[in-house]
Symmetry: C2
Subunit: 300 residues, 2 copies
DNA sequence: ATCATTGATCCAAAAATGTTATCAATGTGC
DNA sequence: GCACATTGATAACATTTTTGGATCAATGAT
């Protein structure tokens, strides 16, 4: 670094006062030091910032520009410093949260709304990540909290069950099975199935595959899509049935018809909130508390 | 200033590498120095930025935030430094230009369009200022160039005539005088006159007052407005006639009817471009050149 | 013409910065 | 389980940088 904040601050003082002595007073240093610092800055930039006669100081075009920039930069540093302190004191906080599609469409919005209301000084950064990715990011300290289906086995990661969902079939409106009260795995095995890709929906896929296996069936997927909207679009278009953990809140029954899937024992998908045990902060603690509170109404 | 760019840059290097030795290499300094600088920064902020075991370095929440901010700030400083150099070398420039209403509605747009085309690296900052204010701002070096009516007498200020305008009466469409080819001061003295306020239009007011005086009349203003659009609004509404230096380009003849004012000798308002002799820069020189070129078609 | 005020320069003292050598802690590999 | 390499922190010392007081030359005001 060829110069530092001292140079900028000194230059700003001189440029604002247009007088080296007054600037020196303001900075509580001697005038020669001010002279030299400004000269040094000019020399290191290779640019004249001030036109000085022995009676008057005037900014050059470059100087004028640098004055504005430097004021701004120094201001930003002050703000940053302040924010750093607030973050450290716990007054402010930033929580980086991972979520999956299953948790993202109803549970997470409810929790964040509630949490924001009670903690306006905490910024939430939400990142869509499937469960395995969340595991990595939690361990690498790239997210603070993860909403996942199931839980992780790791001594470094702690998790708490938040919500339970039953598997549900989502049918297009005029599907033959839409008159039924509920469906079985055997019903579904005979149908065209639309499912999320394994890359994006690894956990749900595993759960569904297991459920089929237990019922003595094999899951055959007719069509895949990576996003929830993509899947629902295919269902609405009549391509087939999908299996999900509930009815997405934004769906109307005229486009998507939900039917419970009956199995014995019932398949229950548990959503967990997970975090690195060693990184637990105050804001995280409060977020976990809110999540458990809100999640209670999602428990069967 | 409690800490320097050195501290920020060092912290950024460590935070990015998450390793003091590699950071030291990158900064071409010894590792103990890096340690000390980071410790110093933490101490001065009063905030722990890095969690370090003897085997691993991890950012705290504050540290993560500061990393992003510091990267950004350092980047801005680089950009500022670069821009300062470009400004000094004349590659880039910022011209602060004052203009009055008379010059602002036709001459200035023509000049800036032409100038921008030829000098894309020069930013023009246009400020509306009446002539006396421009005089002060030029002397105080708060604007580089001023478009004014008339010229200043000052050894410090140089100016160049750019355009000449004849006084013109602007009438509402159905005014009795609108059938006439031209008008005299005596005609106008009998009419209701709408004029710009003295505060905002000092120069034009003085010119008009002088013209009336020479014709043995006294200017009586029925209604004042501060802005050109306000004045024209009053004229269109039939409140009275105004006196201006031409037909504003944005007016249609269905709303405003221009009539030449005949006097002997003719009253000619000369628009000048003025600047502080001592501040003449390359960009200013080019702007002046363009102005004179474009202005030529405005000379009678 | 005198005087006060301006920014720049010189020099010695003080402060800071950086380097080498070293340490304690902790994973890694055999 | 033990030697070893690697981690960040510390100590001591040399060097560089920074600072403040005295002073200077230039210049506008009285």
């Amino acid at each position: 670094m060829r110069y530092d904040l001292k140079h900028l601050a000194t230059f700003v003082a001189v440029a604002e006062e247009l007088n080296f002595h007054r600037a020196a007073d303001r900075l509580t240093m001697a005038q020669p030091a001010v002279s030299r610092v400004v000269l040094e800055l000019e020399e290191r930039l290779g640019v004249k910032l001030l036109e000085r006669t022995t009676r008057k100081v005037r900014l050059t075009e470059s100087g004028r520009y640098l004055l504005e920039e430097a004021q701004d930069i120094l201001g930003r540093i002050d703000v940053a410093e302040n924010t750093v302190r607030l973050l450290a004191s716990g007054t402010k906080a930033i929580l980086r949260i991972g979520y999956t599609t299953i948790t993202g469409h109803s549970l997470l919005p409810d929790i964040t709304r509630e949490f924001r209301r009670a903690n306006p000084d905490v910024r939430l950064e939400l990142t869509y990540l499937h469960a395995p990715a969340q595991r990595d990011k939690i361990l690498q300290d790239e997210i603070d909290l993860g909403f996942i289906e199931g839980s992780f086995q790791s001594s470094e990661i702690e998790s708490r069950p938040l919500a339970q969902h039953r598997l549900m079939a989502l049918l297009p409106p005029n599907h033959p099975l839409s008159t039924r009260q509920s469906l079985t795995i055997d019903d579904l095995a005979r149908e065209e199935l639309v499912m999320g890709t394994n890359a994006e929906w690894p956990t749900l896929r595993r759960i569904v595959v297991d459920a089929f296996q237990k019922a003595g069936q094999v899951l055959t997927v007719a069509q895949e899509a990576s996003s929830l909207t993509g899947i629902l679009g295919l269902v609405t278009a009549g391509v087939g049935i999908t299996i999900f953990t509930g009815m997405p809140r934004f769906c109307g029954e005229h486009a998507i018809v939900p039917k419970p899937i009956v199995t014995d024992p019932p398949v229950i998908v548990e959503t967990h909130l997970a975090w690195r045990r060693a990184s637990l902060s105050g804001a995280m603690r409060r977020f976990i508390e809110t999540s458990e509170h809100v999640g209670r109404s999602y428990m069967l």
